[in-house]
């Protein structure tokens, strides 16, 4: 396949993408249905203003390789070097498996042999659609509807790449699986689609990383992530997005959690121009639980509109949201959350804790919670604080010989400790470096 670039959005372009991928008819139908919805749906009525010229965006850019490789040496040398510089290749040794998406296509996938023997599937969504159509079809688009919002519909129209993971029953991995998403071109849109199925009595930790170089043209990342957590299973999904400051990051992430299942979102937002992201747990099964631990750091021109959603359907379900936001240099970090305990979700508990640290007078922060319980036996606890670094805290640190910058750094890292402690060691170290560069 030669280099293909598709700019602008119309039905012909969508058919072209589908054609390139040699998809089955139901997938094209899904794309076209999504596109119709996208055209009729207005931009989100809440949150930051988004300035996007849909005609100027590149919706598809073909990969540099003809097929997914499992060896770095078989990739284009320039791309391999770029990934090496980003630390992606080095990180493979800490993982049980790793995938890389470059622009629109997944170019690399590999995992340790033990996982292959356990019948674990870790591949691109396109590959999965070809090889495991029944499995994909059972869940694809069922957890996040393509009629959910404008950007989920956009993703449904033009999705390309993303991971597919299937963990069979009674299977546990020792180390995480990781996917890395790289945007390299100007005006590029990335629309990956991730589907994760953790079958009954299993466990998965999945890590997603992403970066893009800083261009003046704004680009778009509109991903959809769907996760099914089976009975008595656990899934943990860790992301630290460090998109360049020209990327609009508009992502829909949702997990459906079955009986006694447990879903944990660990979600860090440091980069991007605008981020709108509210990882969601639908606690369908009785005694299922969901946690979302999120941080947002917003600096000049950045708007981080992030939070979480917890929908309690089953009885005795539990959810916890911990949100930490930092705004500096005129940035805007807003928590937007939605907790709903439905009528039948008896004896359920939800806890929401939002803390904001404002580093100067020109930065902004808002807390916009929506907490609703429809039965009397359940409770929602909500706690929110907004603070700045106090003179007394700085004085205490400085009176021990620590200079002001280092003192602020320690206090800020301390503020984010609840999040940092959830990350695997090498990621926590990387996050520290990232925060130091951004503060």
């Amino acid at each position: 396949m030669g280099l293909v670039e598709i700019r602008g959005l119309n039905e012909a372009h969508i058919r072209e993408i589908s054609n390139i991928k040699k998809e089955e008819a139901w997938i094209l139908d899904y794309r076209l249905d999504s596109f119709r919805y996208f055209m009729n749906e207005s931009m989100p009525s809440f949150g930051p203003e988004i300035h996007l010229s849909f005609d100027d965006i590149i919706y598809y850019k073909s990969s540099v390789a003809d097929s997914i490789q499992d060896s770095w040496s078989r990739l284009n040398k320039r791309v391999t070097e770029e990934l090496d510089e980003l630390g992606v290749i080095e990180s493979e040794q800490h993982m049980d498996g790793i995938g890389v998406q470059y622009e629109s296509e997944v170019i690399y996938h590999n995992m340790i042999d033990e996982l292959k023997e356990k019948d674990i599937i870790f591949t691109s969504i396109e590959d999965a659609m070809r090889k495991y159509p029944e499995l994909v079809r059972k869940y694809f688009g069922k957890i996040v509807s393509n009629h959910e919002n404008k950007f989920a519909a956009l993703n449904g129209s033009v999705f390309s790449g993303g991971s597919f993971i299937y963990i069979p029953p009674h299977t546990k991995l020792d180390r995480p699986l990781q996917s890395y998403f790289r945007i390299s071109s100007r005006s590029m849109g990335q629309f990956e689609r991730t589907l994760i199925i953790v079958d009954d009595d299993s466990e998965l930790h999945y890590i997603e990383g992403c970066t893009a170089p800083d261009y003046s043209e704004s680009s778009l990342h509109a991903a959809v992530v769907e996760i099914y957590v089976g009975k008595r299973s656990k899934c943990r999904y860790t992301t630290v997005q460090n998109w360049a400051h020209n990327v609009n990051n508009l992502v829909t992430k949702r997990a459906l959690v079955d009986e006694d299942g447990e879903m944990v979102w660990v979600d860090g937002n440091i980069g991007s121009l605008v981020t709108m992201k509210y990882p969601c747990c639908v606690l369908k099964g009785d005694r299922s639980s969901g946690t979302c631990i999120t941080i947002s750091v917003a600096s000049t021109n950045q708007e981080q509109d992030t939070g979480a959603r917890m929908i309690h359907l089953g009885k005795n379900t539990k959810s916890k949201i911990i949100s930490k936001s930092i705004a500096r240099n005129g940035g805007n970090a807003t928590y937007r959350g939605d907790v709903k305990i439905t009528k039948d979700a008896l004896y359920s508990e939800a806890m929401v804790k939002c803390d904001t640290l404002l580093l100067d007078e020109i930065s902004k922060s808002d807390t916009i919670p929506r907490n609703l319980t429809e039965n009397d036996s359940s409770t929602i606890e909500h706690e929110a604080t907004v603070s700045k670094i106090s003179d007394e805290n700085l004085f205490y640190f400085m009176s021990r010989g620590i200079d002001k910058e280092r003192a602020m750094e320690l206090i800020i890292l301390g503020f984010l400790e609840a999040f940092r402690s959830e990350l695997p060691m090498e990621y926590a170290v990387e996050l520290n470096q990232l925060l130091k560069r951004n503060l």
């Binding site: 205490y396 009176s399 620590i402 320690l410 890292l413 301390g414 984010l416 400790e417």
Partner: protein
Amino acid sequence: MQMNIEDLTVTVAEGKKILDHFSLALAPGSIHVIMGPNGCGKSTLSKVLLAHPHYNIVSGDIIVDGNSILPLSTDARSRLGIFLCYQNPISVDGVTNSEFLRTALTETTQERINVYTFMKAMEKGIEELSMDPAMMHRFINQDFSGGERKKNEILQMKMLKPKFVILDELDSGLDVDSLRIVCQNVNQYKEENPDTTILLITHYPRILEYIHPDYVHVMRDGKLVEMGDLSLAQKIEKEGYLGTTSMGGEHHGE
């Protein structure tokens, strides 16, 4: 460290005078006590010596070993060797005691400190202060009792090895056993580092049973009004601050 506080006048943001032409010379190795009723300005003095941002120096100077320290920031003064043991140490979420102390030590000595050496030294200090070893990995003073907080201050002193130690109301929040342990540690530090100057700020004379001062000063309305030896403190214990000289018409004690 020779410190001369010369004719120092200090106001707070609202313009209220807190120190009023205050002068005191502290020679290396000496132990001074400043006593006085609440609100006399003694805790302010301790913060002013470390350039707390809420206070303005109107006139006067603070000279350390011949140089004015007024241009120096809080952290630079700390690195000179001035240490304040706070009356009410704050707590900080997310920063562990060991992380904090190790950073302070690195910044103070400007040397990279071997983790193992540091841990050993910290463990030793913790043991000498009869603290829970797990405190190393707890956040700064988080869920610490008043006594644990004070012990933590003294632990920091022992590790940072200052030359000039200000003990602000060391005995507040301490039970008898903790007070004894804390004072033993201060005395031991003084013994091992005889040139250390100690400035003890206290409302109650009780602590002087444990730490024996060379000089006792009485402070009122932002200035020193009387100086003596231990017998002055004993007199205050018996008669209260009302018995001291230069009494104005107003009543300050509680």
